[in-house]
Symmetry: C5
């Protein structure tokens, strides 16, 4: 019987904490000391042109602004608040939106600030534990600016597609690029969900085989991870809904078709999350009822054994009493009887057998 | 007492997995190596004409396009991505919709692409385990194109009706054919639900008769199957709702009456699903409380038996002590008393009877 | 202790089954071999005229069609599909609606077919088990046609009112007659609910008095019956809501006042159903916690008795050992001690009393 | 250990029953034999005038109708159906509304009948058990008619305010009086809720102190009373919402401000009800887990004691066997050994101590 | 084994009680004897001017009214009902709104009274127990009047920002000041939520380590605190939603951007509350299943030990019987057998070992 208190499979904080002291004025960019310094990847592209570079300072960006075609500025790492503020001034981004960029615990949302749209989405990273990273996205007719928390890149496929001449993303406007980025984010939810589905299948098997208390913790882990996906996907659906209804400049009718497709994928992801949550809850119940079934079975068998032997032991106890047959003819004359011992043994066997039969009849055994 | 860990009645994957690597551009048709090669069944029909054939290549279809009347192209088997792409070009189907055709884990939905409507529904197959197969449906004024995953045919009744001259489906447009196909899909939900209802009835009986732990797994199985039906029927209801509100070309007012009827059937199916889910949950509770009731009864009887004999055994133990009456007049003088043994036996019987009476009075026995 | 597996209070099918094979064309009237043959009761009425008859064939109806005033044709028994089809042709009823008439497992609903309204409601029959019967209702400006499954008549009060000259139902149009019929259906829900309420009260009392496992089944029965009422009343509310919003011909403004009243009654019935469901759930919990409380009490007392005697029996066992005092002065010299036996008895009594006191102190006894 | 089956704190009917046989025509006033005879209190008032009287017959009312200013007729006691019908004719009240007045189990609602508004609210009476009484209210530009079930008066404060010259209720129209009456009804919900809150606090304390099974019944009682409040307040909220949207004659814009305030109070009451329900559910859980915690503790200690002594008793049993050392050197030579007895006792002590230590180590003791 | 009844971590009233007797006319200001006397802090400000003072009487305020720019009057302490009434007259505040100011248990809400907006929000104070304090807020084009219950100031950061020349709050109108105050209130929710999150993390760890019954109470405490936050934040969201849709004078389009940001923060807070509630519920389940798992383990081991020894003790009891071998050759000849004793011991050992093996095989040990 395993004895250790069930180990938590991993430590994690329940929820990220909001930085920033209460009472700071709106639009204040509170620096996060742990955030890595920014790397700026810039792509200037059009149907026939494509140029990309990795910059280290915002100043180098200025030259790119005057190029023809569209521009995608991707900032990875939010450690340098000043750089972000300069970028905001360069592209005319609203201070409230910039505050949300730095404060990386936003829910996905879509907001209109003057002529540019501001969207927040969450990318999932499934390394040791499932974490979600904020992706902030500004879309204007001429440029897209994205802010990622870390350098490791989920957006590489989009960048790759931009390099291929003739690809749709080259031929369309910034709204399509923004769609491509969001679609890429949603696409990455599915491998995560697949892994969670596999873990649930594995857990079901182990519960049926009679696993221990650590399974309960693993179910809770999966449920926590599903929560993380849910918190990323649920408001993203609202975001895409809002984008579909958005009739202002940046979003064209044709891109809307693609956004609808992306919305569809998000709904599919949510569907999977809900299904998995139900399955996880079912596993919890299965685990508890399996465990209690097993315990009941054990206890019942043991109780039956005890019950059969206790009356027999009592009879043996009777004939172990030391009443003196010599003092009185009423004192345990059985002890001197010729067939005394065999009769008592037979009686015991009979009592035991009757009880076993009775228990069998009542289907207790 | 049965001992085996309860067997899972059958292995299944929790949810189908989405193929396609994250980051592939939208509209990419990822081939599924396990999908069977396509069989193309084509029907050209009108009030007075009817012609059908089974083709093996898309090229043969060209001749059919110029015929008068309406055309139904039914593709079963999605193993040949190129053929599907050619079909798409032939009929002007949107790449995003074609991607959904190949990616067979779509939720039922209705989408408008230019002049044609695109619908996805799910057919149920109740063989070893309940599975759902995707049916994709394009409706345009002149043609209907359907894509099924497998060759075995749920749509045979529709085909049969097309062969009968004078049937409504011959006399009306493609929108009515599309309705007939969807209605056929919904009609097939009911036998599945009937079988699930019968299984629930059987389970209720077996629980009441005191079945074992495998019942829990069977209830879970039924709940899983209800989930499958639910995932097929629930969004189908939304689809039909959307179709009822659809005022663009393909859907005529008269067909709308029929779609309302089909919508009604879907609601009825959903109703059954919800009722069965509630019944399944009730059975789960019934099973658990029946089991715990039984265990309680067993334990109570056993505990009572033990409790009656333990004090008696103690008394017998007392008179089994070896204190030497010879050493002292205080040492167990009872052992030499004339009525010692009978009195002790009587006392024991009295104690036992009192306890039994007491337990009966408190209704424990 | 009662032993029988708790009896199911009555057998019932979980849900009625839909007849009709998948794939039959819409509007097909599938005959139900168990349905009784139709009895046609016809009433022709107006403010000053009233005439009624029971017909046996549809042909006899023709003469009634030309009479002045309004006409109510009430068909009880759906066993003759041909007669229903003839009736449909006579009154111009839509085939889809007729299909619903025959297929008696419709949810209550209201549908507009051309110039007539088609409504389905469910009447409750509380004989051995609670069952619901379908009432189909066609309303046109000149006639009302109703279809009941059985002959025994819930609509007698309406018929009675039609016979009284000067009653509202005589003076108003067919819409008011339709209201009167629906109101009559709803009125019959309340005695059913009253009986269910009384059963719940009785169950509460019996649980508190400590009833057995059969109570659980009776609670389930009541819950099942509440479900039947709910499935009848819930969509009826929607039906009446739709009728209140209906602005087309048959429903006049004055009748709408009465429909609102009927809607109100339906809401009241739903309210009772919800309250009773909550009470039934509460009883379930009460039953389970009462039972587990009782078992706990029993087990605790028994465990305490056992626990007190087990150490004492051990002591008696010690002095029942046969070590030979003659072999060594260390071998059980107590057995020969002058106060040996009384001291041991006193010690045992002291240990027992201490344990009882200790258990009392900790409030275990 | 308390033994009595937990007493139900009081008997009550689960729900009031609807009188009136099914099938009675709408607008029929079914007399309730238990209802007290009506007392009619009439107040004629205006900014400068005020006159009140208690009448015993409807006929006396006629003289009051011609007075200038507004009129409030308050009927307490619904025992005289004829008087109510006469009142209805006098003021032109709709028969359907009058039926609801007499049938005192209406849900709160607001209905427009021609030029007068008809409202039903429920007043709470917290005497032995919490009961709700129906208040029916007709508002027309010149008069307010209220019907209460009983004479004991919750509306005294309104009557008092009407007596004070210069009070708002004197200066405004009948709509304000109607508001004042409804506000008074809602105001009386709060003392009831306060008492329920106090009972919940008391229950929490007693559960923590380890109360018995009667607490469960008391929690159920509180939950039942909360249900009564809920059923009174919830539809009242809808009623006030409807009144706020009501743009027809009786309700002026200024009164709407006050109705909004009253709506606010109702929402606050509902809020309290929901909070208390949650607390009551939490107490239920707390009670159950406290009880099961206690039982577990008891059982564990007892099981440990038994477990320690059972092996020791076995050892004592061994040396109580009567194998004859004289017959063979192998027969229990220990019994004659010089250190036999002390060694066995020591061994027993060692085994017992080891077990206690082991149990302590595993934190079972 | 810890024995004390689990201590309630702190006493608290379940819910604040509403003062004010039922039946008092609307707009009555009922004094609360425990409320502290008011301190009036006034700030007159404009883009270039700033002046502040702490007054002790309403009379001193008159001089400030004529100053140019905007005015913020902040009243802390509601002990002086007369002063509040005078303030109401000075600024033209509606009596119903003033009643809500004094009656400090309002739900957050936004109401329009003529030309000024009236808002109620709740500030959280996390001292010994989490409490919420009412903040009432009047906004008109020229002034903001706030009423706090206590003097200790959550609004200090806003006052501080007003002192800084060039800050946004100086340059914008009273609507922006109102926003700044509300935003400050919401900002203070997050440290509270962070502390609750930390407590939940701590609780999870202690449950896994096997804590006692007091954990249950602590989880309940956290859930109660979450309820307090929820009741503050949930209606605040509605308030801000209403403010966003408010198109009347005080709220400008630019301020609306900021209100949207504040709304966003409230949604984030609600999100955290919901997540924490789910986690707390999960902890409850974890606690209960951990506890029952532990008890099960203990009981199982103990039952196994008892079960192994009970049959052995029975055998020892057999050979402790005193049948006299001298009286008959059938009377316990084993006792005189040469290998009797060793054989019996061996048999016992064999039986014990078999049982242990059997239990191990069935994975009970």
């Amino acid at each position: 019987m395993s004895e250790k208190t069930p180990p938590r499979s991993r430590r994690r904080r329940l929820m990220p904490r909001r930085r920033g002291k209460p009472g700071t004025p709106p639009g204040t960019l509170t620096p996060n000391p742990q955030a890595p310094p920014p790397t700026i990847r810039v792509v200037a592209y059009g149907p026939t042109t494509h140029d990309e570079a990795t910059l280290t300072s915002v100043a180098e960006l200025r030259g790119w602004l005057t190029r023809p075609g569209s521009l995608w500025v991707d900032v990875a790492g939010l450690g340098d608040v000043d750089a972000i503020r300069q970028l905001g001034e360069l592209f005319g981004l609203h201070p409230l939106a910039l505050e949300d960029v730095v404060n990386t615990h936003q829910r996905p949302k879509l907001e209109q600030y003057g002529e540019h749209l501001f969207a927040v989405a969450r990318m999932l990273h499934d390394q040791q534990s499932l974490e979600s990273e904020q992706l902030a996205l500004f879309v204007a007719p001429r440029f897209v600016v994205t802010f990622q928390e870390r350098l490791d890149d989920d957006l590489a496929p989009v960048r790759e597609r931009l390099r291929r001449p003739g690809s749709l993303v080259r031929e369309r406007g910034t709204d399509y690029l923004a769609y491509a980025i969001l679609d890429d984010v949603v696409d990455h939810y599915f491998p995560v969900l697949d892994r969670l589905g596999e873990r649930l299948e594995g857990l079901e098997e182990r519960i049926t085989e009679g696993g221990g208390a650590e399974l309960l913790h693993q179910i809770r882990d999966v449920k926590h991870d599903l929560q993380v996906v849910r918190r990323a996907a649920w408001p993203l659906r609202d975001l895409l809904n809002a984008a579909l209804r958005e009739t202002s400049a940046p979003v064209t009718a044709e891109t809307r078709l693609y956004l609808r497709d992306c919305h569809d994928h998000t709904v599919q992801a949510m569907d999977l999350v809900e299904t998995y949550r139900e399955i996880a809850n079912g596993l919890m119940d299965l685990y508890l009822s399996t465990m209690s079934y097993k315990t009941n079975e054990v206890m019942k068998v043991l109780a039956l054994i005890a019950t059969i032997f206790i009356p027999l032991t009592f009879v043996a106890g009777i004939y172990g009493m030391n009443f003196d047959p010599a003092s009185s003819p009423w004192n345990m004359p059985e002890l001197d009887a010729y067939w005394g011992y065999p009769l008592v043994l037979t009686a015991m066997a009979a009592v035991g057998a009757t009880m076993v039969l009775y228990f069998k009849r009542r289907r207790w055994l």
